[in-house]
């Protein structure tokens, strides 16, 4: 490109021709090599959800850190709706130059094929980059609920599945995965229970805090406030370790359900054919940012625990999750 700039633009036509040739030259020579000194211009991180939710808040924390690191604007763009398909599709169709990046997570990857049968792209066409953080799902009940432990809830569900109500977000998602694991562990046919289908995680928590359902599910950022207002009780955390802010709440395993674990992670992916050196830059950036104590603290405030995984581990995680999702939803 520098040759073009050095050229004397004596004739407009020749400049135009020169630009076109230079463009063709650059494209022809190295289709998958990134420009020197990536990133050179603003980066857009596409979040397939509305602003203010876990993924969005986490991405905004990380975007600010990336901005400080790379000295280019890193914008978080919300493209909610359509089961995340339109947003993912936008990223998949973007030029693989590292300036349009997907805020990835289970609904956008491992669970998407279960939720939407006909996708305009293939799940594994994306270029996996890195996982940055996760949050475990938690079982919650109304503060006056007779269930003191997860076992109490299980007993009630076994006794009369047909009147047992629980919060579902429809389609395939982390919340529903947790419930499906629960009913599978109990050998209950999920179609015989009463699912209260809701629009989003915050609504699921509100309905549980209002005592309108028997069993609810939420992530920490959604339940923190009603928990403090003493409207909710957490029965168990669906991860291998207890949650830092809830040291007295058992894990699902400790509560007697070793098969239950749902971690909702957030990470980054790009379009097909993203050059390896760009992936390496992101990998390095995410690795260092998630090790920064200040970022760790900021993410914990919005209910996320930092947890770095590289591209290969990320893909392996998605494949494993997808197999489990297929099995759970096949019932």
């Amino acid at each position: 490109m520098t040759t073009v700039i050095k050229m004397q633009p004596s004739k407009r036509a020749s400049l135009g021709l020169g630009l076109a040739m230079a463009g063709a030259f650059v494209l022809g020579l190295s289709p998958v090599k990134a420009e020197e000194g990536y990133p050179k211009k603003p980066i857009e991180i596409i979040v397939p959800f509305a602003a203010g939710a876990s993924t969005d808040l986490g991405m905004r924390v990380i975007a600010t850190a990336l901005e400080n690191r790379w000295k280019v604007p890193v914008r978080v763009i919300n493209k909610p709706g359509g089961n995340t398909v339109p947003a993912v599709n936008d990223v998949m169709n973007a030029a693989p130059e590292g300036y349009t990046i997907l805020a990835d997570g289970p609904p956008q990857s491992s669970m998407l094929e279960t939720a939407v049968k006909t996708l305009p792209f293939k799940i594994y066409d994306r270029t996996f980059m890195a996982i940055a953080a996760y949050t475990p799902m938690k079982f919650i009940v109304h503060i006056d609920s007779p269930f003191k432990t997860l076992q109490d809830a299980a007993d009630a569900a076994k006794k009369d599945p047909s009147s047992f109500t629980w919060t579902s977000l429809g389609g395939a998602g982390a919340q529903d995965m947790l419930n499906r694991q629960f009913f599978k562990a109990l050998n209950i046919d999920i179609t015989k229970t009463r699912a209260l289908q809701l629009k989003g995680g915050s609504e699921a928590v509100t309905m549980t805090a209002g005592g309108h359902v028997n069993l609810g599910v939420g992530s920490y950022s959604a339940i923190a406030a009603p928990l403090q207002a003493k409207k909710l009780r957490v029965l168990a955390v669906a991860s291998s370790e207890r949650w830092p802010n809830l040291p007295d709440t058992p894990t699902a395993k400790e509560a007697g359900f070793p098969s239950i674990e749902v971690l909702y992670w957030i990470g980054f992916s790009g379009p097909k054919g993203l050059p390896a050196d760009i992936v390496a830059k992101w990998d390095q950036a995410v690795k260092e940012i998630t090790a920064d104590p200040a970022i760790k603290e900021s993410l914990l405030k919005v209910g996320l625990l930092t947890s770095y995984s590289n591209a290969a581990d990320m893909e392996a995680r998605v494949r494993k999750e997808q197999a489990e999702t297929n099995a759970l939803w096949a019932q």
Binding site: L196, A209, A229
Partner: protein, 505 residues
Amino acid sequence: MDNALLQGLVAAFSGMNLLFALIGCLLGTLVGVLPGLGPASAMAILLPITMHMPPEGAIIIMAGIYYGAMYGGSTTSILMNIPGETASAVTMQDGFPMTKNGKAGQALAIAAIGSYMAGIFGAAAISFIGPYVADIALKFGPAEYFGLVLFSMTALVSFAGNSLVKGIALAVLGMALAGIGTDPLTGTQRLTFGNIELSKGLDVVPVLVGLFGISEVLASMGDKVEKIFTGQLGSWLTMIPRGEELKRGLYASMRGTIGGFVMGLLPGMLPAITAYLCYDIEKRVSKTPEKFGTGMIEGVAGPEAANNATAMAGFIPLLALGIPTSPALAIILGTLMINGLTPGPMLFETQGVFVWTIIGSMLIANTMLLVLNLPLVGLWARLSNVPYSILGPVVLAVCLIGAYAPRNTMFDVWVAIGFGVIGYAMRRYQMPLAPLILGFLLGPMLEQSLRQALSLSGGSLSFIVNRPIALTLTIMAVLVIGLTTYMRSRSSEISHLIEESTNET
């Protein structure tokens, strides 16, 4: 009074916090004036910056944007028939006719005054009754929402115009349009014909901007309008409402404030919806309901007070329970969390000074907004005297940018243009636009609450009878519709009789 209150109020008056409030108000007004760019998107952009600010400063700015938008939203509604905010859509109903009558100044002034009343009342109510009424948000399950929406639907009567049947048909069409896209409950695709863009559904902003803004430009072009108002506008002083007009506006603001506030305590009751319902209240209590739509000051004051009151009321479930009742409040919740603060009763106890600083700044910010808005009334009103050959293209450009902004997609621009043509056709055939919008806004709530209530009851409609709140609301809805239909048929019968008797003589 306790120490925290005094300390908080003093802190609200600190130079830094005054500056934050001013920035928030200015940004909010700007966001409100620009259609498409809603308070939620502006707040989301600011969210990462707030990590580097003191928490109270962050919330003061965010809150300023939220209610600043409620003030600013009315400006384009009144002047150009484009809703600056979805919450100000119903303000067009009488606001734009007022501009056409040369009363743009009065309309803008009463919108600002009504919003101010709602803001001050709201801030006071948050502090004194907030903790006691927060639980209302939790009392509402699917059955209660179904009753509430059913009752809200009776507002159709006020917007349907001459024919209730036509109004209901348009509302049903609005509901069907709102049903396009991914079903938010199950993720099923509906009416998308396999199209990815349609799977996102229709956003309310391009629909509104098209139906009202673009169709207005088309209609004005067809009618060869030279100026929106061709007469002489008086000085600023004559534009401020006074006497009887002011009194009517203030009473309407009061009703709008209370109505908007009470409904605003519930999740899902967005300012856009409560503004519609309070317009309906105005029309019902008015002695001259037939004059609504021709430039009644109550039709501006009521909804404008209501949308601001709803915005303020939303802070109660947010601060007391951490329940966001609107997308914008979800971002304020995010701001609190990113700053390490968890809302709830503990927030009032452990962070009393913080809470009182926020409430104090609400009083200050609302006063700032009134002071900012009232002097500008004269300037804004002059827009109605700008030749339409200049104003028209500007309005069109603003509409198209506004349609693009909320979801960052070209598809929405085409949607706006399509609805512009539909809106133009509807005007030509004298079909009211408001029922379509009301159906569009309330439809999803009606459908979802009904499906949810049925799934909880195992498919039985008994929930309407079993739940007292749902039952009361349903009975009220039936009564309102029954009585209105009866009265209408009576009055048409009587007028028919009078007509006959005069014919005889």
